[in-house]
C-alpha cells in the first residue's frame, strides 16, 4: 500500500465517522480535557446558529459570546464529571443570545477509547424546551380535571346528604337518591356534551319525557337558546318538579296532566316566562316545610337563572311560574 492509498483509506474512515456524527439530530460536542472543542456536529452549528470556524478549537466557555459560560454547566463539567464517567440529562436553563430562553438537557460521557485512556468528553445537548412546556401544560390540565372531578363528587355528596332518609326505607332512599343522581348525570351531559347552546324545547322534552311520555305535555313555543349553566339548572329544577308530581301531584293518578308552556316577554330586556301547570291530580295542599327540592328550585332560579319563581299550590293543581332574564345571565 502506498502512501496515497493509506491517505485515501484514512480519509474515507474520517469522512464516514464525521458523517455519523453529523447525522445524529441532537447537537454533539467533543471536548478535550481542558474543555476546548475538538469536534462539533452539524446539528450543533444549526441549532445554535454558529459556524464551524468560530467553534472548533475554541474553549467551551468562550463559544458564541460566552453563551455556554453557564454556572450550572461549569458545575457539571468541573465538579461532577471528574468524579463520574457519565452524566445524563443534566438540565440547564439558560437565555441563549441567538435562540432565546431554552431548557437544555446536557449529557456528558467520557469518549470511548479501546485502551480506556481517553480524557475527551462527548457532550450531547437535547433541546427540551417544548417538551417541558407540554409537560407543564399537561400538568395544568390534569390539575383542572382533578379539581372538576372533586367538584362533581361534591355535588353527588350534596344530593346524597340532602335526600331524606328519615322515615323512609332503604329502597325508597336509594330510589330517590338515584333519581337525583341520574338527573345530575343527564343535566351534566345535556349541559356540556354539546358545544355552545341548546334550545329550550329540546331540553324540556328530553328531560321530561322519561318521567311520563303521556302525562307531560310540552307545548311548542318560541325558540330560546340556553347556555350550559342554564341547561344544568333547568334540568335539575324539572327533575324536582317531575318527581314531586309523581309522588304527590298530577302524575300520581292516571288522569293527571302536566302542561309546560313558555313565552318570551320582550320588555327592555327579553325574559323567559316558563309555566308548569298540573291538573287532574289529587287535591293539593302546600307542603308543611320547605325541603331540599323546594330550596333547590328557588335557589337555582334566583342565583343561577337570575330570575324569580312562584310556587302556587292551587287546589286544582300545582302551578309553577319561572321568570328569568334571557341573554347575558351572570
Amino acid at each position: 500500500m502506498n502512501l496515497e492509498d493509506l491517505y485515501r483509506l484514512l480519509r474515507n474512515g474520517h469522512v464516514e465517522a464525521q458523517g455519523i456524527v453529523d447525522t445524529v439530530p441532537d447537537p454533539l460536542l467533543v471536548l478535550d480535557q481542558n474543555l476546548y472543542v475538538r469536534t462539533a456536529s452539524r446539528a450543533f452549528f444549526t441549532t445554535f446558529k454558529v459556524t464551524r470556524d468560530e467553534t472548533i478549537g475554541q474553549h467551551l466557555y468562550e463559544l458564541g459570546n460566552q453563551q455556554w459560560d453557564i454556572p450550572e454547566l461549569r458545575r457539571l463539567l468541573e465538579e461532577v464529571i471528574p468524579k463520574s464517567t457519565a452524566v445524563v440529562d443534566y438540565e440547564v436553563e439558560h437565555d441563549f443570545p441567538s435562540i432565546g430562553r431554552r431548557t437544555m438537557l446536557v449529557s456528558a460521557h467520557r469518549l470511548f477509547h479501546p485502551d480506556n485512556i481517553s480524557r475527551s468528553l462527548l457532550l450531547s445537548i437535547v433541546d427540551a424546551t417544548e417538551r417541558r412546556q407540554h409537560e407543564a401544560e399537561k400538568d395544568v390540565l390534569l390539575g383542572e380535571l382533578r379539581h372538576r372531578m372533586k367538584n362533581l363528587l361534591g355535588l353527588v355528596q350534596a344530593i346524597a346528604r340532602q335526600t331524606t332518609a328519615a322515615g323512609h326505607s332503604g329502597e325508597e332512599y336509594r330510589d330517590a337518591f338515584l333519581g337525583r343522581f341520574n338527573a345530575l348525570v343527564q343535566a351534566h351531559d345535556a349541559a356540556y356534551s354539546q358545544v355552545g347552546e341548546a334550545d329550550l324545547q329540546e331540553v324540556l322534552q328530553r328531560t321530561l319525557e322519561p318521567y311520563s311520555p303521556t302525562g307531560v305535555l310540552v307545548e311548542s313555543g318560541p325558540t330560546v337558546s340556553l347556555t350550559s349553566g342554564q341547561i344544568m339548572s333547568l334540568s335539575l329544577i324539572l327533575h324536582e318538579l317531575a318527581t314531586n308530581g309523581i309522588k304527590y301531584g298530577a302524575l300520581s293518578t292516571p288522569t293527571g296532566q302536566i302542561r309546560v308552556h313558555w313565552e318570551v316577554e320582550e320588555a327592555s330586556a327579553p325574559s323567559l316566562r316558563l309555566v308548569w301547570q298540573e291538573s287532574g291530580g289529587p287535591p293539593v295542599a302546600p307542603p308543611v316545610s320547605s325541603g331540599f327540592g323546594t330550596q333547590l328550585i328557588e335557589f337555582a332560579v334566583s342565583r343561577e337563572l337570575g330570575g324569580r319563581v312562584e310556587l302556587n299550590y292551587a287546589p286544582a293543581g300545582l302551578v309553577v311560574e319561572i321568570v328569568a332574564p334571557l341573554g347575558s345571565v351572570s
Binding site: R161, Q295, R303
Partner: protein, 114 residues
C-alpha cells in the same frame, strides 16, 4: 355564620346541614359582591369560603373578613387555594371538597374558639 359558595347544590347542602346543627346561616352568597354586601349588614362569627366565584376569586371577601377579625375556613377542591385566591388564604383551615360533615363541624368550631 356566612356561606360563600357558587355551586348551588353545594351551597344549599351546606346551609341545610349547618342549620340542622344549630348554626344560623348568612347567605349563601354566590358572588364576591353579594358576600361583601352581606358583611356590611351583619358580621358572622365565622365564614366558609369557596375559592372561585362567578365574579372572581374570593380574595376580597377574605380580606374584608380578616380586616373585621372574622375567622374563615376554606372549602375548595384545590389542594393549595392560596395559589388562586392569594396569600390571604394561606394557612386558613381547610374543610376540603367534597366536605365531610364531621370535619366541617370540627374545623368550624375550632375556628370560632380560636
Amino acid at each position: 355564620m356566612l356561606i360563600v359558595e357558587d355551586e348551588f347544590l353545594i351551597a344549599i347542602d351546606l346551609k341545610l346541614l349547618l342549620q340542622r346543627r344549630g348554626w344560623s346561616v348568612l347567605g349563601p352568597a354566590t358572588t364576591v359582591k353579594e358576600a361583601l354586601a352581606l358583611l356590611d349588614d351583619e358580621l358572622p362569627a365565622v365564614a366558609i369560603l369557596h375559592v372561585t366565584l362567578k365574579d372572581g376569586s374570593v380574595t376580597l371577601v377574605a380580606e374584608a373578613l380578616r380586616a373585621r377579625q372574622v375567622p374563615f375556613v376554606v372549602a375548595s377542591a384545590y389542594s393549595r387555594p392560596e395559589l388562586i385566591g392569594g396569600d390571604v388564604l394561606a394557612g386558613a383551615p381547610s374543610v376540603g371538597k367534597p366536605t365531610e360533615e364531621h370535619r366541617l363541624l370540627a374545623v368550624l368550631e375550632n375556628a370560632v374558639r380560636s
